[in-house]
Amino acid sequence: MTALIELANVDKTYNQGQVNEVKALKGINLEIEAGSVVCLQGSSGSGKSTLLSIIGCVFPPTSGRAAIAGKQLSRLPDRFLTLHRRASIGFIFQRFNLLPELTVQDNITLPLMPLGVGPRERKERAARLMERLGIGHRAGFPARQISGGELQRVAIARALINDPPIILADEPTAHLDHALSLTFMEIMRELHRDGKTIILTSHDQLITGHPAVERLIGLSDGMLHVP
């Protein structure tokens, strides 16, 4: 059985061929098994977000091969990357990236809208997740009215709504206090138990040293190294 995520000789160059060209990733070779919890570690500007974007099917690599959840993505048009991202990836962002005017439930079901999932099913699926994450009583609240800890759970619920095999989190705890960061990692551990593959980026000691993290991958200046 092959790995869930396979990157071979992956380069990513921003603004290729122009004066402001940036080689963000250089010759990345990486395999990640299904069901593992991985943390990408590196200083700011080392290419963590770029690597996460390639794994998350946000854009294709400039060169090299990338196979994510059984799909070869090298130089795939945006349209198909999106199709694959919808099905396989759940994102959790640094500042949660929720829409403050929308209700909690509407934020959570945002990924289901273009899939043509009807309102009743959307409501049911959101309700199940909110129950599980303990924010059921907040369903009708606008996102701007709820607390930081609840926001975090809403963001996680949104990533899980389409039941993707891979969860990606880009510096999820950068703006959280100690207690919230710990609960976040607890939830990740629970998801891991459900069989999700989780990839985090961070330079926060709390995450890189957390027992839930099975594997640390160092990144500096666009290249991998073992920390």
């Binding site: 603004n15 122009q18 048009p77 349209r79």
Partner: protein, 335 residues
């Protein structure tokens, strides 16, 4: 006659379609020259973005073109109040020699924009965009058609001279009566009807088979028959069916059906016939997509759906067009 709200609206609509397709063809030129899927340069990224724009623009253009088609006929009907000798849309469309060509060109435009969108649909179903170059070359090929459409419409409007009573002593007269007459010689009624219903039945049976299995030879047969059927239907509407709707034996006009006096039934009739013809014919044309493009599954799914849609619309069309005739014959008109 440009200073008339209808002329203004038609010109505006043409201008809008021209601008939209103009922007789309700018993208087409760029794609044909620079498209390189292997590259990750900013140019390729922005080209990929522009492909979204071009298809959206053609969708809008198709919508506006259909609108323009309807408006053109309604405008012609309205012009008949102004042009002497014209009793209804037929009279004003035949008032100069650009009227009918403009109408046909508009119809052809709508058909081809629709076809382009079908090709686009095929193209974006594959990760390799196998029809990309063809698609954008075809988009450029649509421009002369649009040009001809706009030219004909402009010449038509320019050639319309409203009859205004002048203050001089002379009398102004139109070219006399008879202009409100007929678009075509009338067809022998019973034979036309037999052919019409016979062909409709054949198409329905063919559709039934094709929906289950798409044999290429039958597909082509069906597409060809659909083309004939659309032509025959237009002739039969003009020559036979319309006068039953109007309940006037000598009024043979395909356009007055769109008027409120007749319950806007024309919108239903043409709204069923033209899309049915489009899907009937394009299902066959879809067979032209080369097998090497790896699109056979997508093409097959499209053909299946197109056959189904064309057959459903065929039923709607036949019922709506026959309604008045059947009513007349049942109610004891001579039959």
């Amino acid at each position: 006659m440009f200073l008339n709200p209808w002329s203004v609206a038609l010109c505006l609509l043409s201008l809008v379609v021209l601008i939209l397709l103009g922007i789309a063809s700018r993208t087409a030129v760029k794609v044909l020259r620079h498209w390189n899927p292997a590259s990750d340069s900013n140019r390729q990224i922005s080209l990929e973005n522009e492909t979204w724009l071009s298809s959206t623009l053609v969708q809008y253009a198709l919508g506006f073109q259909l609108f323009s088609l309807v408006l053109f006929v309604l405008a012609a009907d309205n012009f008949s109040h102004v042009i002497s000798g014209a009793m209804c849309a037929v009279g004003s469309l035949t008032a100069n020699r650009y009227g009918m060509p403009a109408l046909w060109l508009k119809l052809a435009g709508a058909f081809l924009y629709g076809l382009w969108l079908v090709v686009h649909h095929f193209d974006i179903s594959s990760e390799r965009y196998p029809l990309l170059k063809f698609k954008y070359a075809a988009l450029l090929g649509l421009m002369p058609l649009l040009g001809a459409d706009i030219a004909c419409q402009t010449l038509y409007l320019a050639g319309l001279k409203p009859d205004i009573i002048t203050s001089c002593c002379a009398v102004v007269f139109g070219e006399g009566e008879g202009k409100g007459g007929n678009l075509m010689a009338s067809l022998p009624e019973n034979r036309t009807l037999a052919l019409f219903y016979g062909l409709a039945a054949v198409l329905a049976v063919l559709g039934h088979f094709l929906f289950r299995r798409r044999r290429p030879s039958l597909m082509w047969l069906s597409g060809g028959l659909w083309a004939v059927f659309v032509g025959l239907s237009l002739a039969a509407i003009t020559s036979v069916f319309s006068s039953y709707v109007y309940a006037m034996p000598y009024h043979h006009c395909p356009f007055c059906l769109l008027k409120p006096e007749y319950g806007y039934i024309g919108f239903l009739i043409y709204g069923a016939l033209l899309p049915a013809g489009f899907f009937g014919i394009s299902a066959a044309l879809a067979s032209l997509v080369p097998a090497a493009s790896g699109l056979s599954a997508v093409v097959d799914r499209f053909q299946r759906r197109a056959v189904l849609i064309s057959c459903l619309l065929l039923v709607v069309f036949v019922i709506s067009v026959s309604y008045h005739l059947v009513l007349y014959r049942l109610s004891g008109g001579e039959g």
